[in-house]
């Protein structure tokens, strides 16, 4: 077997697509983990239907997984793919628009039979001509039949054999990008420790796919060298796991036990699962009977002196709003994680959106202020979960952490921080032996009340949803007291700004023609766009928000340095309206998209160019 020559590549995007039962998520994950261990920077984006098994062979049932690997720093899973693996005609139909001009399409040609082509919506028996895919490098690979051929000697049944065809595809891609096979082998060896036959079968199929690619000269062959990223220890992590771990880390730094009361909901469920795994770290999880019980058990646990969290998505947050107000008036620490998805109502459960911002800020009865922060990469969900918990504990308040489906399911390498380097969190727990007044505020400027934890002798007191007298905490209907308490709750949340870092400008700190403004998960796409345009000498910079309420102190300073501002969001303009309320002196352009999809760098670039040219 003569080795093909390898072309060096900086940057590659691969999209695996197949039926939702074809194992595309696993295939994509094995490829991205292998690449991360190889030292590339990696970002992934799973794109799958809400149904566990949508109708087989239809476009609606296609499950995709996009991986972006690079020799350089990666901020997004990439707009368009260099290589598309299409396991059936529906996968081709759904994904052909996502391939770069001149890119490679590898299709399992065994599945391109009349019945499947019809189901996918093709009118002819030649989809490649029908959809004008001649400009692509189309490889018609007999993946199914070669998998059958490979595994014939094993005596496995045909159904089991065909289930491994995704590994043949993985083998092909491993070869194209010169990946080692040992990570995938170890994965199966661990997963099927008691079924050596399955481990061997997977090994055989991956190798067969690898060799097929080696011998097929139509396939390109690349090397993507390890990335030049910051030195240190890394692991690949998705946003939901990073969120769960950030919360556990905060509990450890606050020396508090962690309690999570939650109800399963896509795409937030995994946080509850990851926390349930951590009995070894003493985490208590309560799978509640509904969303309301999720937050109410958490409030009960917070009353009992735990770091309490509840995790949900938009519809669940809607159900939790009354109880969130209870946490506001009782001034108990609580972290509410909202992994946003497409709405309204059930909306697009598995697709991403940033349309719960107003809900997070305002959807409670009465004057009910609450800090709101947002993570912006899968990895920094760890940092912002930690930060949400810090604010909750140190400021005695519920906090909403916003992530979304894009961050939750997407992965990126995370630099592992030693716990010693994270800040200590100091709970404001009242001590035994001193007079305890539940609504006496601290004199450190933060205006917090003290946490009187049941079980502590001498601190017996009552809190609850009725308005309370300042200092004593007795029920009070005194008009001036309600004014005072309302003002104090607002002022307390405003004090959070003391530790909110200044808004950074990425690009030109002195200002320029255009400031791109974003918040949350759009960071990677906005940064890549701004970076590309700056490389082309366009005077554009980025200011990205992680702190929504309170906003950083220097927002007006930053905005005033730029001639134009454009606020970009995966919603109809919620943050831009919030900025219009809070910073009225500026004129805002906006770019919005509500398709259940992240931005693409291409569309952003076009939009920014138009704004700069006053089109």
């Amino acid at each position: 077997m003569d080795k093909k020559s390898r072309i060096e590549k900086e940057d590659v995007v691969i999209r695996f697509a197949g039926d939702s039962g074809d194992g595309m998520q696993l295939t994509g994950t094995l490829f991205s983990d292998t690449s991360a261990l190889f030292g590339n920077d990696v970002a992934t984006f799973p794109d799958y239907p809400a149904e566990i098994r949508a109708p087989k062979g239809t476009v609606g049932g296609v499950s995709g997984f996009q991986v972006h690997i690079s020799h350089n720093k990666v901020h997004t899973p990439g707009d368009y793919a260099d290589v598309l693996i299409a396991m059936n005609p529906a996968a081709l139909k759904a994904n052909e628009i996502w391939v770069k001009p001149g890119g490679t399409i590898i299709a399992d040609i065994d599945t391109f039979i009349e019945k499947n082509l019809k189901k996918a919506g093709y009118k002819t028996l030649d989809p490649f001509t029908e959809d004008h895919l001649e400009s692509f490098n189309v490889i018609k690979a007999p993946i199914s039949s070669l998998t059958q051929e490979t595994l014939k000697p094993t005596g496995l049944d045909n159904k089991t054999i065909l289930r491994s065809k995704n590994m043949f595809a993985l083998g092909i891609v491993f070869n194209i990008y010169s990946r080692p096979l040992d990570y995938a082998h170890n994965f199966f060896a661990t997963k099927f420790a008691k079924k050596p036959q399955i481990v061997e079968a997977n090994d055989m199929v991956i190798k067969a796919g690898f060799n097929y690619a080696e011998n097929t000269h139509a396939l390109p062959s690349y090397r993507v060298e390890p990335a030049k990223i910051e030195n240190g220890l890394y692991r690949n992590i998705n946003g939901n796991k990073a969120t769960a771990w950030g919360l556990i880390a905060a509990a450890e730094k606050a020396n508090l036990p962690l309690f999570c009361g939650s109800y399963p909901i896509t795409p937030a469920t995994e946080i509850l699962q990851y926390l349930s795994d951590r009995k070894d770290l003493g985490v208590k999880t309560f799978q509640a009977e509904d969303e309301i019980a999720g937050i109410c058990t958490a409030i009960g646990a917070s009353f009992a002196g735990h770091l309490a969290v509840t995790t949900t998505s938009g519809p669940g947050l809607a159900l939790k709003t009354e109880a969130a107000g209870l946490a506001v008036i009782t001034e108990l620490p609580l972290v509410i994680v909202n992994v946003q998805r497409g709405g309204p109502s059930t909306g697009l459960p598995t697709k991403t959106e940033q349309a719960d911002l107003m809900q997070a800020l305002y959807a409670r009865n009465g004057e009910s202020p609450m800090p709101v922060i947002a993570a912006s990469t899968p990895g920094n969900c760890f940092d912002y979960a930690f930060e949400a918990a810090r604010i909750a504990i140190e400021h005695m308040t519920p906090v909403i952490l916003l992530t979304d489906g894009f961050l939750a399911n997407g992965t990126s390498p995370m630099l592992i921080k030693n716990m010693d380097t994270l800040p200590v969190i100091t709970p404001k727990i009242a001590k035994e032996g001193k007079e305890y007044l539940p609504y006496k505020r601290s004199d450190d400027g933060l205006m917090t009340r003290e946490w009187g934890v049941p079980g502590t002798p001498g601190l017996e007191h009552r809190i609850g949803g009725l308005e309370k007298m300042a200092v004593t905490g007795n029920v009070s209907y005194v008009p001036s007291n309600h004014q005072l308490m309302t003002d104090e709750r607002q002022a307390k949340v405003e004090q959070v700004v003391a530790k909110v870092p200044d808004l950074q400008i990425e690009g030109n700190p002195d200002g320029g023609d255009l400031l791109v403004v974003g918040w949350g998960s759009t960071y990677g796409h906005l940064l890549d766009t701004v970076t590309e345009m700056r490389d082309e000498d366009v005077n554009v910079s980025l200011a990205h928000f992680n702190y929504i309420n309170p906003l950083p102190k220097n927002v007006a300073d930053v905005f005033s340095k730029f001639k134009k501002i454009v606020v970009c969001e995966i919603n109809s303009g919620q943050f831009v309206n919030y900025l219009k309320i809070n910073h009225q002196n500026f004129e805002y352009n906006q770019y919005n998209k509500v398709q259940g999809l992240p931005f693409t760098v291409a569309e952003l670039k076009e939009e920014f160019t138009n704004i700069l040219e006053d089109k």
């Binding site: 991360a36 261990l37 030292g39 990570y183 390890p226 990335a227 030049k228 990223i229 910051e230 030195n231 240190g232 220890l233 890394y234 692991r235 690949n236 771990w245 556990i248 450890e252 036990p257 309690f259 009361g261 951590r278 009995k279 070894d280 770290l281 003493g282 208590k284 309560f286 509640a288 009977e289 509904d290 309301i292 019980a293 109410c296 058990t297 958490a298 409030i299 009960g300 646990a301 009353f303 009992a304 002196g305 735990h306 009354e322 209870l326 009782t330 921080k417 716990m419 009187g452 049941p454 079980g455 002798p457 017996e460 009552r462 809190i463 609850g464 949803g465 009725l466 007795n474 029920v475």
Partner: protein, 340 residues
């Protein structure tokens, strides 16, 4: 009996807040009985957490010199579940009413009972919404006229004991607001039970549903209409302790001792610890006028509590766990070093 650690009097459990229930409201007597029970129970005052929802009864925590949490409508059960699961050392009491627990809070109610969280649920049943001034509740008698049922309700009320047993309940007792002596014993048994202890208190709302329980609680007839059950004792009641309960097929039947050859030995003996709920269900469903109404502890069976099981599982995992702290977790599994 071992000497008590604490020498509390009921006064130790009274807060400095003025009690604001209507004069003559049954809640006053329940408050007194619970304060008495707590003075007798040997539990440190700081270890009580009293958690309520919304309604007249739910003002209760403010009048107790203990840790207290006045929640939101229907959610006392969920808040209490969180508090107890977080800290199983606390004695957690959920104070609730027929609207709070059975209408808006119905979901939490059945699930806390199913989980068998070690809570004491004291359900004040006055068969009416009092705080909102007189609308029918899930326990209002069929056909009863209230502000929202001016022509009588057309809804079948819940039978609270049946609901609890249907939700896999391990403890169900019934008492009457003004029966302080008997109630104190019931509350103490509820606290002694490990698991969700549900106590239905027949409570009188003097303003919006006066005398709703009078048929059962009226002094003159109470001996014929109430049967106070005690574990291990025969099910006897009546003016002269001459009536008893026997089984006739699958149904309970009232008999007179000394008539038709019936002796005391023929009378059923109460076994509150029986796992099979059939007889407990029949006892809790007995209603006037066909039958006497059962009081005291009707069901008390042993089962692992949720809060203890959560702690046990954590302890078991931790005993052999390789991951002891967050640094261990962060560096576990697949990691790689970048060293440019």
């Amino acid at each position: 009996m071992a000497e008590k650690k604490y020498n509390y009097t009921p006064k130790d459990f009274k807060s400095d807040q003025e009690v604001r229930w209507c004069p003559g409201c049954g809640d006053h007597a329940i408050l007194n009985a619970i304060q008495k029970a707590m003075a007798e129970l040997d539990i440190a005052k700081e270890d009580y957490a009293i958690i309520s929802g919304i309604g007249c009864s739910s003002r209760f925590p403010y009048y107790m010199e203990t840790y207290g949490f006045h929640g939101i409508h229907g959610r006392a059960g969920a808040i209490a579940s969180g508090t107890k699961t977080a800290n199983p050392k606390l004695s957690v009491w959920q104070i609730t009413g027929d609207g709070d627990a059975l209408a808006i809070g119905g979901n939490h109610f059945i699930h806390e009972i199913r989980r068998n969280i070690d809570l004491n649920i004291i359900l004040f049943n006055n068969e009416i919404y009092g705080l909102t001034k007189g609308q029918y509740s899930p326990t209002t008698k069929y056909g009863h006229k209230t502000k929202t049922s001016p022509f009588g309700t057309v809804e079948t009320p819940f039978k609270i004991g049946q609901l609890a047993i249907g939700a896999m309940g391990t403890f169900f007792a019934r008492t009457i607001d003004g029966y302080v002596k008997e109630s104190v014993e019931v509350y103490k048994e509820a606290e002694a039970h490990r698991g969700t202890s549900l106590v239905e208190v027949l409570e009188n709302c003097v303003i919006y549903n006066d005398d709703t329980h009078a048929d059962i609680t009226a002094k003159a007839t109470r001996k014929q209409r109430q049967i106070w059950l005690k574990n291990g004792e025969p099910m006897i009641f009546g003016e002269n302790d001459d009536k008893g309960l026997v089984l006739n097929g699958f149904k309970l039947k009232v008999v007179t001792i000394g008539e038709n050859g019936i002796t005391k030995d023929d009378i059923l003996v109460h076994d509150s610890h029986e796992e099979d709920p059939i007889l407990h269900l029949a006892l809790s469903n007995m209603k006037y006028p066909e039958m006497p109404v059962a009081f005291g502890v009707i069901r008390e069976t042993k089962k692992m509590t949720y809060d203890a099981a959560v702690e046990a599982q954590i302890a078991e995992v931790q005993a052999t766990a390789k991951i002891k702290n967050m640094n261990d977790l962060l560096t576990s599994g697949e990691t790689w070093t970048v060293n440019n």
